[in-house]
């Protein structure tokens, strides 16, 4: 092995490594699918009113969003054990009857509690930022301390589930992420918060988005006419005509979705 050949090999491997790093990074980013982006006041973004979180998931899915960050606004974080959703397979004979877990969960277990998890396993979202009341963030901080991968700070709580990242924070501590998000606002959040306050916090953050879902969370415990009225006020604040009727598009961009490049 000559010195010259060794040097050439080193250079090739370093270049390959650099290429691989750039390549996987770019591959990840171009896998994201987003729509036209703007602030929460922008008119060119999708804004929809739905009755249930299940409808929100369907809108995201039908729109083709992929690899996104969701900002979830509600009064509490409801937990469940995804392991219990997958049927115990007591009969396992060859040839095995296999299935895609993500599709199974979407078809049979999509509801108001599971919809974010279903969105994650179906690759619609890749991380969650939950804006919650301070008491709820504190509760989740205490729970997070019992897990293996967590960070708790004044700004909020970070925790993962099987490597999937989640942040829990308050509206006051919410800060603008580097990328446009899918914004979900549940009526339950307004139980103890005025819509003007959330509007001010989101506006101040300068957060960009391409889709805002306002959800009545019909049937959810604690959601009354008061919360719906406040959700209507929030809808007005972001520039759309409120409606508490059926799932109804308030304004939809005609611009087709685009696969996001590195600029996202």
């Amino acid at each position: 092995m000559t010195t010259r050949r060794s040097i050439i090999t080193c250079i090739i491997i370093v270049l390959l490594a650099a290429g691989a790093l750039v390549g996987v990074n770019r591959f990840g980013k171009i896998s994201r699918v987003t729509g036209p982006v703007g602030t929460i006041l922008a008119q060119n973004i999708i804004k929809k009113r739905v009755e249930s979180p299940r409808d929100a998931y369907k809108i995201w899915k039908e729109a083709g969003y992929r690899g996104r960050t969701v900002v979830f606004v509600a009064d509490r974080w409801e937990s469940f054990d995804p392991g219990e959703l997958i049927p115990a397979q007591m009969f396992r004979a060859y040839p095995l009857q296999l299935y895609n877990t993500a599709r199974l969960l979407e078809d049979e277990h999509l509801d108001g509690v599971t919809f974010l998890y279903v969105a994650s396993v179906n690759d619609v979202i890749r991380k969650i930022v939950a804006i919650l009341p301070e008491s709820e963030v504190n509760r989740l901080g205490a729970l997070a301390r019992k897990t293996k991968d967590f960070r708790v700070s004044d700004k909020g709580v970070f925790v993962t589930r099987q490597g999937f990242p989640r942040w829990y924070t308050t509206g006051a501590n919410f800060s603008n992420g580097a990328e446009p998000v899918l914004l979900y606002v549940g009526a339950s959040y307004f139980r103890n918060t005025e819509p003007e306050e959330l509007y001010r916090q989101l506006s101040a953050s300068g957060q960009m988005t391409d889709c805002i879902i306002l959800c009545n969370e019909t049937g959810k415990e604690g959601v009354t006419e008061k919360e719906i009225t406040r959700l209507n006020r929030f809808a007005t604040l972001i520039g759309v005509v409120p409606s508490s009727a059926d799932s109804k598009q308030m304004r939809t961009s005609e611009t087709p979705l685009q696969s996001a490049g590195p600029a996202v």
């Binding site: 080193c10 490594a17 980013k29 049927p87 007591m90 009857q97 877990t101 990242p165």
Partner: protein, 448 residues
């Protein structure tokens, strides 16, 4: 060479005997599901999400090639487990420079119950024997020929080992250290040449494995994650792995989960499971409890495993006395792979021993050969030892392939020992088994 080929065929027979009739365990089933989830959605899980992802990739393509029969689910493990047998021989011959030791090592490996157990399962512990072994073999080919392609192959295989489980890093470090020592010796005063060669082996034995490891995460990146998010995933995986105490509480007496015990006391890997398939596919009636349970026991053969620590001492002595590089290298491989497991505060189940066992078995082969050399008729001593090993291995083989509960004298014992809790969970009636969400894996055509 013919002897090694014969032992390999024998290993293939032992690993594959009635494999399609061995009931499918939950692990096997979830390995297949995890492969589909990972390759089609970039999901980690449902099983063993905290380990790297190579198994998902290999099993997924095996399912595509062979369908959802036994070869699709377990074909990769069967292949790699069987190929470990010739690799043990080839590597032992190069490290210890003796054909007889190489054959003894291959023989001991082929009939080890734990090896057989995991060559017949879908989960990836046997990968931890195979990939470092083939990487070491290619490393020696590089040393013999000076061709860097062999070293590149070695780096790739170490990377595949890392992409199976992180414990492959230990033999990688030892091999890298040996290369550095070799370079030091060969480039006494040539500083520039030394630095260039350091960079060369660093690129091939550190950067290439890291690159291979990274590339196995491509399906995960396909979910939209960027490179800056990848370290957080690795951190999460590391935290789970380093503090792992099991995914579910064990339903049986779980005591063999400390690595220091493996080579000082008889140890066993216990894997009982239920599978309600009827033997003839008749859906009208459930099988009896006894017929629906399978207990797979990977018992350490005491005639081999209890010789490991004395063998390492003898190997160390040879290293000191004869300045034998092979002895040092093998000792280093064993200690570097084993001591972190011994020191680990978390439970370490015996399946992990497969990352140590190749080096342990080579050391035992050397030990047996060394001790036998003190006798006039050393061939007879070696042959007698191997026959004794085989005699002990025979009943252990039945336990390793899940036939323990079919042995009348063992049936009650196994049920009492491991399966009492299962009885409480016995379903009263058949429930729907296969949800209607068939994946992109082609329609099954079972391998006959």
């Amino acid at each position: 060479m013919w002897a090694l080929a014969f032992i390999t065929l024998w290993a293939l027979f032992l690993n594959g005997f009635q494999l399609s009739r061995q009931p499918v365990s939950e692990d096997d089933y979830y390995v297949a599901l995890s492969a589909i989830n990972y390759m089609e959605s970039g999901q980690l899980g449902p099983t063993m999400w905290n380990h790297p992802c190579l198994r998902n990739i290999l099993v997924y393509y095996a399912l595509h090639m062979f369908g959802t029969g036994v070869l699709g689910v377990k074909g990769v493990s069967l292949l790699l487990g069987t190929l470990c047998t010739p690799l043990i021989g080839l590597v032992a011959r190069r490290i210890l420079k003796d054909d007889c030791i190489a054959l003894i090592a291959a023989f001991l490996w082929a009939c080890d119950a734990l090896v057989i157990d995991f060559s017949r399962q879908g989960i990836n512990d046997i990968y931890l024997s195979f990939f470092p072994l083939i990487a070491i073999y290619l490393f020696y080919r590089h040393r013999e020929s000076g061709r860097q392609l062999w070293l590149l192959g070695s780096g790739i295989c170490f990377g595949l080992g890392l992409a199976s489980k992180w414990s492959a890093v230990f033999p990688l470090i030892v091999t890298f250290a040996l290369l550095l020592v070799t370079i030091n010796k060969e480039t006494k005063d040539a500083i520039r040449a030394r630095i260039v060669r350091y960079c060369h082996v660093t690129a091939l034995l550190l950067m290439v494995p890291a690159l291979v490891y990274l590339l196995t995460f491509i399906p995960w990146f396909g979910r939209g994650y960027s490179l800056s998010e990848w370290p957080a995933l690795q951190r999460s995986m590391f935290l789970e792995t380093s503090q792992h105490v099991g995914y579910h509480p064990k339903k049986w007496d779980d005591k063999d989960n400390r690595a220091y015990k493996w080579f000082v006391a008889p140890s066993v890997f216990v894997d009982p499971f239920m599978n309600m398939d009827t033997a003839d596919g008749d859906p009208r009636s459930l099988p009896s409890f006894d017929k629906s349970v399978t207990v797979v026991l990977g018992y350490a053969n005491p005639l081999v495993w209890l010789l490991v620590l004395p063998a390492i001492i003898v190997l160390l002595r040879r290293g000191f006395r004869e300045r034998d590089e092979g002895a040092w290298y093998l000792t280093g491989l064993f200690l570097a792979s084993y001591l972190p497991l011994v020191a680990s505060p978390r439970p370490i189940w015996m399946n992990t021993a497969l990352s140590v066992l190749p080096y342990a078995i080579m050391a035992v082969a050397f030990f047996v050969w060394t001790i036998a050399g003190r006798f006039k008729r050393n061939n007879v001593v070696i042959a007698s030892y191997l026959v004794l090993v085989l005699i002990v291995a025979s009943p252990l083989y039945l336990l390793a392939i899940g036939k323990g509960t079919r042995i009348p004298v063992l049936n009650n014992y196994l049920v009492e020992q491991y399966l009492v809790q299962f009885k409480k969970e016995m379903p009263s009636e058949r429930t729907p088994s296969a949800p209607g969400h068939v994946s992109a894996v082609p329609a099954p055509h079972e391998n006959k």
